[in-house]
């Protein structure tokens, strides 16, 4: 006894096609939403970079106008935080677009220039306003050429969080940027990443947490400066005049 095929069981091509359209719509909306947020990120990144450029320019102008450095009005933490925010946003854009995407590389170049400007300005500020800061310029390379660079980067992030007096600037050694070439030639750097330039001294090769802490001890008394820096950052606006 064989029954007729029931109506609900019958293959309805139209319904399956409608389902396909519906699925494509949902699937496409996922991509659309992602693209929209990435574009927002890039727009935010452009705004942030513009803000930082304005703030750097503003501080540079203050230095130029005033015969003395404007240490009384100095609030470099805003500048530094802006720079960190840009770096995080840049990393996010890099994750989404891919590290070799042309738009990402453009943004990275611009960020590197801002980093150099930030470094130059802060070096001058630290000297003029006698701020207890130590500067690390860090050069990394891709994983293939420099397998230890990722680890070194993480250790430096840890140090940045642990010691607020540290100012760390990281650069892609192979980024094609004349400003960066100038920086490399100033310190006569060889292509042996990871490279760290601490104040004006060059250190080649991977340094673990203890080694790096020992090196930093040469420049600053870590324990005392850590406390002092905390006090400085909380009352940055009342820093002593030159």
């Amino acid at each position: 006894m064989d029954m007729e095929i029931a109506s609900e069981k019958k293959f309805n091509g139209k319904k399956y096609f409608l389902t396909l359209l519906f699925t494509l719509l949902i699937f496409g909306s996922g991509f659309f939403l992602s693209d929209y947020i990435t574009k927002q990120h890039i727009a935010d990144l452009n705004d942030l970079q513009q803000n930082l450029r304005t703030d750097i320019l503003s501080l540079e102008t203050q230095f130029s106008i005033l015969s003395q450095a404007p240490c009384s009005n100095l609030n470099e933490t805003t500048l530094t935080n802006e720079l960190y925010e840009i770096s995080q946003k840049l990393a996010s854009v890099g994750n989404t677009l891919g590290e070799n995407h042309i738009r990402f590389l453009e943004l990275k170049k611009y960020y590197s220039i801002l980093e150099i400007k930030h470094w130059l300005l802060l070096k001058k500020t630290a000297k003029d306003c006698k701020l207890p800061m130590t500067f690390i310029i860090y050069f990394y390379d891709d994983k293939k050429t420099c397998p230890k660079c990722e680890d070194q980067g993480y250790i430096l992030t840890y140090f940045r969080e642990k010691y607020p007096f540290l100012r760390i600037y990281s650069f892609d050694f192979n980024l094609k940027l004349t400003a960066l070439d100038a920086l490399k030639s100033v310190f006569r750097l060889k292509e042996e990443t990871p490279i760290m330039v601490i104040n004006n001294d060059v250190y080649y090769g991977y340094k673990n947490k203890d080694e790096l802490e020992a090196i930093l001890e040469k420049y600053v008394k870590l324990e005392t400066l850590e406390e002092k820096e905390t006090a400085t950052t909380t009352s940055a606006t009342s820093a002593p005049k030159k």
């Binding site: 006894m1 064989d2 029954m3 007729e4 095929i5 029931a6 609900e8 069981k9 019958k10 293959f11 309805n12 319904k15 399956y16 409608l18 389902t19 396909l20 519906f22 699925t23 949902i26 699937f27 909306s29 996922g30 991509f31 939403l33 992602s34 947020i37 990435t38 990120h41 935010d44 935080n81 960190y84 925010e85 995080q88 946003k89 990393a91 996010s92 994750n95 989404t96 891919g98 590290e99 994983k143 293939k144 680890d151 993480y154 250790i155 840890y158 969080e161 642990k162 607020p164 673990n208 947490k209």
Partner: protein, 417 residues
């Protein structure tokens, strides 16, 4: 290979998997929308046919009294109910207890036979059953009082040959039972949608009611790789006998309390389902079986998807954990500097399409679960162990399918318990 070369392949696998999962979700949603006014049978019961409830038992001395009581107390005319307890050669006191129950209630009939498996027990009872309708019930299951009445509403229709009930976990306590509870809510909802598509592929042991004529059309139960309930449904489908599902007839079953028992049960089910499908390959003919064929293709694709997505996810989770452990080692596990959250920012949120699509899929599953709860009038308070369903179910399901694959390849016979 470098990270950049392997990632797109992994991403492609995930995107294909998500697309297929979303297509399935869309098909279910559209079918639900089409049938939104037919979720329940509104008409009453015109007449109450005699129902024979078959209760196959093997070493069920702890369950039998409660199981028989749950049938005897069903909201159904007392003189229209026959209860047949089949003792399948138990080595405990099942038979003795069944006989005591029989002495108290004339509606109860006890049959005893040497052990031969559930299908032999059912096959012995079916010809002896007086009812126009045959209900099969497992000894560890308890039907809700209204279950039979609700099922009868469907069987009044001439083209419906069997009706399955919505299965729930009886008083879910531990995490594992919570996972099974959530799983069965999803399953109750999906089975209803499958019934609209004419694609039910199992007439579960916990409670299914058949018109007795079914067995003369398709024959009695077979051993069927220890999943006789699945084989019976496939056999009925091959003869185009309609199987309906009811959301308002609920049967409670005891969940597997430990992981080993759960694995054993699922491997038996999945293995049986796969091997039975192999025996019913003509069901994959879309011209002949339409929606059923499509959904059976899906049930083959499902395990492959499940295994590949779970493997990729497990790989990603393992890589993420390994990176964090290795980072922790670099700083001698001194994470305290990061706890000041000085540079915490939401900007590092990485909005890949994968994230949105995965969230949509999880939301769809969550909706199925809530629909399963809502449509079956479940008042159980959702507990936190539901979270474990979302966290671990995909991995559990993938491992069941993986082990099922191994079990089939090895060709080794498995046992009930």
């Amino acid at each position: 290979m470098t990270k950049n070369e392997t990632m797109p392949i992994i991403d492609i696998i995930i995107y294909i998997g998500l697309f297929i999962a979303l297509y399935f979700g869309a098909l279910i949603s559209i079918t639900l929308f089409e049938n939104r006014n037919q979720l329940y049978k509104k008409q009453g019961v015109f007449n109450f046919p005699l129902v024979s409830v078959l209760l196959p038992c093997y070493n069920e001395e702890k369950e039998i009294e409660e199981a028989v009581a749950s049938i005897a107390n069903l909201d159904y005319p007392k003189n229209k109910l026959e209860i047949i307890v089949i003792d399948d050669g138990s080595t405990d006191a099942t038979l003795a207890r069944a006989k005591i129950l029989q002495a108290k209630d004339p509606r109860i009939k006890v049959i005893s036979k040497p052990n031969g498996g559930k299908h032999t027990a059912l096959n012995l009872a079916i010809p002896q059953a007086k009812g126009e309708l045959i209900a099969t019930l497992d000894a560890d299951c308890r039907p809700a009082k209204n279950a039979l009445k609700e099922i009868i509403k469907y069987l009044q229709e001439p083209d419906v040959w069997a009706v399955t009930a919505s299965i729930k976990i009886l008083k879910p306590q531990n995490i594992l039972e919570g996972v099974q509870y959530a799983e069965l809510l999803v399953s109750a909802f999906l089975r209803k949608i499958y019934s609209f598509l004419g694609a039910i592929n199992v007439t579960p042991g916990p409670l299914t009611v058949f018109k007795k004529q079914v067995f003369s059309i398709v024959g009695l139960y077979k051993k069927a790789h220890l999943t006789e309930d699945c084989e019976m449904a496939l056999r009925m489908q091959s003869k185009h006998l309609k199987i309906a599902h009811t959301l308002d007839a609920v049967v409670y079953t005891k969940g597997q309390k430990n992981i080993k028992a759960l694995f054993r049960q699922r491997i038996r089910w999945y293995r049986g389902f796969t091997l039975n499908l192999k025996d019913y390959l003509p069901l994959f003919n879309i011209k002949q079986h339409g929606n059923l064929a499509v959904l059976l293709f899906y049930s083959f694709l499902g395990p492959l998807l499940s295994i590949s997505l779970a493997t990729v996810s497990a790989y990603k989770i393992a890589r993420f954990s390994a990176r964090h452990i290795s980072n922790g080692w670099l700083i001698r596990f001194d994470f305290s500097p990061f706890l000041n959250f000085r540079h915490l920012s939401l900007v590092s949120f990485n909005p890949k399409p994968l994230l949105f699509l995965s969230i949509i899929v999880l939301l769809i599953i969550f909706c199925y679960m809530m629909l399963g709860k809502w449509l079956t009038f479940d008042k159980t308070k959702i507990k936190q162990n539901i979270i474990f369903y979302f966290l671990f179910y995909s991995f559990l399901n993938a491992s069941w399918w993986f082990l099922t694959g191994l079990s089939i390849i090895s060709g080794k016979e498995i046992k009930w318990k």
